[in-house]
C-alpha cells in the first residue's frame, strides 16, 4: 500500500503556519480538502474564520467542519486527496470540554482525553493510508510560565504528549517562526 505523507506544522500565533501549510498542498495535483476544527462561537472567531476563508479563496477547497471526532471525516476522503487539518489545538480544546453541557466535561472523566488522543493517532494513520498528503497544523503553547488551572495543565500535558507522538509518527515536522519554516524532521515537498 502506498503511504501518504504526513506533515506536522507547529508555531506561535500569527507565525504563518496556516499559509505555509496551504502552500505545501496547493502546488500539488489532487483534490484539496480542508478539515476545519474552529467553531464560530462569537464575533471574533467568526472574523478569524472569515480571514482564513478569504486567504483560501483562490484555490478550490472542499471544507469539512469537524470540531470533534476527527475520525468522522474518513468516509469523505478519497485516494489522491490533499488534506489540511487546521488545527489540532482547537480540536483538543473542543474535546476537553465535550460533555460540558451535560455537566460532565471530558477533562473530568478519567481516561477520556487519553482515549481521544489514542483514537486521533489511529485516525491520522488511517487518513495517511488513504490520501496523498495530510498536513496537520498545531500551536506552540508550552514555553510559558507553568501556573495554570487544573484543566489548562491537563490540556498542556495532553497536547505535549500528542505532539511528541505525532512528531515520531509523521514524515515531516516543521516549526514555523514568523514565516520562516524550521525543518526538524524530513523534507517538505
Amino acid at each position: 500500500m502506498v503511504q501518504g505523507t504526513v506533515t506536522f506544522i507547529s508555531g506561535g500565533a500569527r507565525s504563518g503556519k496556516s499559509t505555509y501549510a496551504e502552500q505545501l498542498l496547493v502546488t500539488q495535483p489532487g483534490r484539496l480538502v480542508y478539515i476545519a476544527s474552529g467553531v464560530a462561537y462569537d464575533q471574533e472567531m467568526k472574523e478569524r474564520i472569515a480571514k482564513h476563508q478569504f486567504d483560501r479563496r483562490m484555490d478550490h477547497w472542499e471544507t469539512i467542519e469537524q470540531p470533534l471526532n476527527i475520525h468522522e471525516v474518513l468516509p469523505f476522503l478519497q485516494a489522491g486527496d490533499l488534506v489540511l487539518w487546521d488545527c489540532m489545538t482547537t480540536w483538543l480544546a473542543n474535546e476537553l470540554y465535550e460533555g460540558y453541557e451535560a455537566g460532565n466535561p471530558c477533562w473530568q472523566r478519567p481516561g477520556c482525553l487519553e482515549g481521544k488522543t489514542e483514537q486521533l493517532l489511529r485516525t491520522i494513520k488511517q487518513i495517511s493510508e488513504r490520501v496523498t498528503s495530510l498536513v496537520i497544523v498545531s500551536n506552540e503553547v508550552l514555553d510559558d510560565w507553568p501556573e495554570h488551572g487544573q484543566e489548562t495543565q491537563l490540556y498542556r500535558k495532553t497536547l505535549g504528549i500528542l505532539h511528541q507522538k505525532l512528531v515520531q509518527q509523521c514524515d515531516v515536522a516543521i516549526e514555523m517562526d514568523h514565516g520562516l519554516p524550521i525543518v526538524w524532521k524530513g523534507d517538505p515537498l
Binding site: L142, D144, W145, I161, H163, Q164, V167, A173
Partner: protein, 125 residues
C-alpha cells in the same frame, strides 16, 4: 556541563535517557543531588527555586557546588509567555531566568529539544 532545554512536555527527560544509554546516571533534583560516582542529571530547577529558603546568591552557589564537567541539567522553558499576574511569580520567573542564563554561560554543550528531536545550539563542532 551539558544543558538540555525545551518547553514543557517536549520529551526532554526521555531524550536524556536515550543520550546516556547504558551509562550509569542518577536523576535527581537540587534537594536530592549528592556527590556520586554516577553522572548527575538534575531536573526540577523551577520547583526547587520556588520552595528553597536560599537567597539568589546562595542558590547560585549551591548549583556551582553540585556542578561537575559531566553534569546534565534539564531546563523547562518558562520565559516565553505573558508576564505572571502575581508579584511573587514574576520574581520567581526572573530568578529562574537568571539561573538559566548562568547555566547557559557555564555549559560546554546546550541542546534544545522539540518534541523529542534534539538540536545542539551551543558546542557545535
Amino acid at each position: 556541563m551539558h544543558v538540555i532545554i525545551g518547553g514543557a512536555y517536549n520529551g526532554k527527560t526521555e531524550y536524556v535517557r536515550r543520550l546516556v544509554g547504558d551509562q550509569p546516571v542518577q536523576f535527581c533534583t537540587m534537594e536530592t543531588a549528592a556527590a556520586s560516582d554516577e553522572r548527575l542529571v538534575i531536573v526540577g530547577l523551577l520547583d526547587w527555586l520556588r520552595q528553597t529558603k536560599m537567597d539568589e546568591a546562595q542558590s547560585l552557589q549551591a548549583v556551582r557546588d553540585v556542578m561537575t564537567p559531566d553534569t546534565i541539567f534539564v531546563l523547562t522553558e518558562v520565559g516565553r509567555g505573558i508576564v505572571p499576574f502575581e508579584a511573587e511569580q514574576r520574581e520567581l520567573r526572573d530568578r529562574c531566568g537568571r539561573l538559566y542564563q548562568f547555566l547557559f554561560e557555564q555549559a560546554t554543550e546546550i541542546t534544545r529539544v522539540w518534541y523529542g528531536i534534539p538540536q545542539k545550539i551551543k558546542g557545535v563542532k
